[in-house]
């Protein structure tokens, strides 16, 4: 649209120039310059929308006498992977040796674990394992580890790449995160409506090393603190419900990008 607009302005200017007695060659040259400018502008716009990147920083450290757990979910698109997946070893490159990353398998209802050994090498499948946007993961930091900064980084889901995101829940436990990198009130999400009654959502309190839980009662209302709870960017959560699986499309809660 900006391209057409600029081209139109140039054509008008060309006519004006011609009326003023300037040679046609110059007019054509002017038009070509305008077209080039417009094309550059158009390309610039495209690049701008493609390159909205962001990050969420999560500080992680050991608990002194015991390991600490952190529950995260990557809210960004991958900048490199065609399928939008993130390499575990990239996302958690900053974690200390002997860290274990546990990803929930909703089908098998158990953890798939990836470990970094005492020399810093990601072992076995961990070297090539990938996680998707909004997939939850528990990170177990060894007790004696000093503070590390883990950056969940990537392209901000935009109106082209992810105006909405397909989400699903398994029978039993599911570990996910809100799929967009913006703080959002739980009750404003599509998920809040879509989850069956008697669902419990558990978010992890890293400081207290325990869950904070929110419940949707048997009548479909979110109880107590759930009514004002906000899901934070990069925060993972565990959804528990033994009803049959269901799915929903979570919609992007911001207008730009």
């Amino acid at each position: 649209m900006p391209f057409i607009l600029v081209l139109t302005v140039c054509m008008v200017e060309g006519k004006l120039i011609n009326w003023m007695g300037v040679k046609m060659k110059k007019v054509v040259l002017g038009i070509m310059v305008c077209v080039a400018l417009a094309a550059t502008w158009a390309v610039g716009q495209q690049v701008l929308s493609k390159n909205a990147v962001g990050y969420v920083k999560v500080d992680m450290e050991g608990g002194g006498t015991k390991p600490n757990l952190y529950l995260v979910a990557h809210p960004f698109e991958s900048l490199t992977d065609a399928n939008g997946l993130h390499l575990v070893s990239n996302v958690f490159a900053a974690v200390p040796n002997n860290t274990i990353v546990s990803v929930w398998d909703p089908i098998g209802q158990g953890y798939v674990q990836y470990g970094r050994d005492g020399r810093g090498t990601w072992l076995g499948a961990a070297a090539t394992a990938k996680i998707s946007r909004s997939q939850g993961a528990f990170v177990r930091i060894p007790s004696n580890a000093t503070q590390r900064e883990v950056f969940l980084m990537g392209e901000v889901p935009d109106k082209t790449t992810a105006p909405s995101q397909y989400m699903s829940r398994a029978e039993g436990l599911t570990m996910i995160g809100f799929p967009y990198p913006v703080a959002t009130r739980l009750t404003n999400t599509v998920m809040a409506q879509a989850l069956p009654n008697n669902t419990i959502i558990s978010v992890w309190d890293s400081a207290a090393q325990t869950y904070v839980q929110y419940g949707k009662d048997g009548r479909g209302n979110w109880l107590g603190a759930a009514a004002t709870a906000e899901l934070q960017p990069g925060q993972g959560m565990v959804i528990r419900n033994t009803n049959a699986p269901n799915s929903w499309w979570e919609t992007k809660p911001y207008s730009w990008p």
Partner: protein, 195 residues
């Protein structure tokens, strides 16, 4: 000496085991509760009333009756408690309780609503006050905070709709029962000698 060292090692091992043993439970009652008629909500009026809910430990495979004020009787211990008034059915939002492991059972109970203007008081839970006791679950030694056990208060079937009916009543405290019995005895004696 060898025996002493072995005994010390065993005790040390037991100590380590005990130190890492936990009760780690998410407890809730998200279907809410109905009065004994299996129809009316337990908070009436609502807002205006709150209900006392307690998570209780017992070493025994049975549930003791509740005393006035929500007192526990026998060997029972209140592990956790709160007032609920999120909705008129006294639905209990999920919450995590963790503590050192004890072999035994847990259950939760909820009392009919009391006036909460100026703050609810356990003093309003008196003799004959209605309450509901959830099923007994054996305690589980669970040291994984990321994977708690779940205790659901609502597991009794109810024909009256969503929620379980309050079907139990608070009994007098033991001292009151003794006094009542003594009073009855005195009356009997007086009647006997009045003839």
């Amino acid at each position: 000496m060898k025996t002493i060292i072995t005994a010390m090692l065993v005790l040390l091992a037991m100590g380590v085991t005990l130190a890492t043993a936990d009760i780690n439970v998410s407890w809730s009652g998200m279907n809410g509760f109905l009065m004994n008629n299996d129809s009316d909500p337990i908070l009436n009026p609502w807002p205006g009333q709150s209900a006392l809910v307690q998570l209780i430990f017992t070493p025994n495979n049975w549930v003791e009756a509740a005393g006035p004020g929500g007192a526990v009787l026998g060997d029972e211990v209140v592990l956790d408690w709160k007032w609920v008034s999120d909705d008129q059915w006294g639905s209990v939002a999920p919450q995590i309780y963790t503590a050192a492991f004890q072999a035994g059972y847990i259950y939760a109970r909820i009392f009919a609503g009391v006036d909460d203007s100026g703050g609810p008081s356990t003093g309003d839970i008196t003799f004959n006050h209605w309450y509901y006791a959830g099923p007994l679950d054996a305690t589980i030694d669970n040291t994984d905070p990321s994977n708690p056990d779940y205790y659901f208060m609502n597991r009794n079937s109810s024909g009256g709709g969503i929620g379980d009916p309050l079907d139990l009543r608070v009994i007098p405290e033991p001292t009151s029962m003794v006094l009542a019995a003594l009073g009855g005895l005195v009356l009997l004696i007086r009647r006997r000698f009045a003839r």
